[in-house]
Subunit: 153 residues, 3 copies
């Protein structure tokens, strides 16, 4: 099943890709790689999850926040190449987790992003990943996700 | 206007690129990509801004610190390829912001770097970017910036 | 001396590469680049160093932790390409250091990884690097290291 069909089956409607609001842009393509900017957990124009996992939010909240960030990276990738069916590999994912003191379950949070990529792209969605804690993130987002993807011509 | 000419117009004199002081080096080129090491806000041999934005330093201080880090990345890129006119695209920028508790305006700080790249390179300076908080950074620098740039032969 | 021979001379026995335990994998190769997932300081199935450098652990502990993370990245690279002798360049290393309040000697910790790459690969082991603080890391590992390496066919 194609990635676009899979998205439909999952009932995921991609948001509009974020507009460039500053001197940076949502993605840059270089050769067959697309680098996305870090995406926060914006949904319908507002942050779906704000604050620190382990204090303000549960690990399950964090998982959902990471999933939303990942959906936003898909919107960016689609805006870059027209159709997600042109993604040939999710290469590298970095997940920054807004972490309360003593919260060390960043991998479980990051799975919210990782599992989405696998659901949408299958084998091609299995990526290298780093999950790390952050003390603060932009606008107090619970999670921030950036991606490097390989794409077909 | 070329990037080198633009630098002159902006009155920016690049410092000497940092020397390798350890088992790592200021940049590695791989194909048409140059990866820089993370640059701190050294100016004339000392850190221009030390400490946490939102406690020791203002957001405007952070903006200036990010700009200095970005200038240092330009010095590294120039040492890599001889002339900044050979930079064909700033691909990806990661900005680590030394953040006090509750400081969530990392994007505004990171703009100090992003706007410099755009001023110097125009369209080719518009990059993908992640801005994230860090609890501590090397030597207490206020900001650390790393870059991936695409370069011509 | 080849990288594999050098490893032997150093008395380093690579562990089994970590198995994929989730929707992500230990590495992805794209063209001549291999991206590893972030590696923590697992040794013989347990974390060798847990907690924050500057509070629970000394800088020397951090150096050793970074070295173990780097050894784990070598195990991943070897599983990716069969022999470390096919590594033509360590391109970029990112070292996340679990940092206590006020600990700003991340570069010294990161040298535990950087020096290992240089010992094993010589000139080809000299890489671009970012060393940054993190407030929390997965499972309370003291250090996490990710690598981009260039490899021969």
């Amino acid at each position: 099943m194609s990635a676009e069909a899979k998205l439909q089956e999952l009932g995921i409607v991609l948001p509009a890709a974020p507009k460039p609001v500053a001197a940076y842009v949502p993605f840059v393509r270089s050769g067959d790689l697309v680098f996305t900017s870090g995406q926060i957990c914006l949904k319908d124009g507002a942050l779906a999850y704000k604050g620190k996992i382990g204090r303000d939010l549960s690990p399950e909240d964090g998982f959902q926040a990471a999933r939303i960030c990942a959906i936003n990276t898909l919107a960016v990738l689609k805006s870059a190449i027209g159709s997600l069916d042109k993604v040939t590999q999710i290469v590298k994912v970095t997940v920054f987790v807004n972490s309360a003191d003593g919260f060390t379950a960043q991998p479980g949070v990051a799975n919210g992003a990782s599992e989405l990529y696998q659901q949408v792209f299958g084998e091609a969605g299995r990526h290298a990943r780093s999950a790390v804690g952050a003390p603060e993130l932009p606008l107090d987002t619970a999670v921030e996700v950036e991606v490097i993807a390989r794409v077909a011509e």
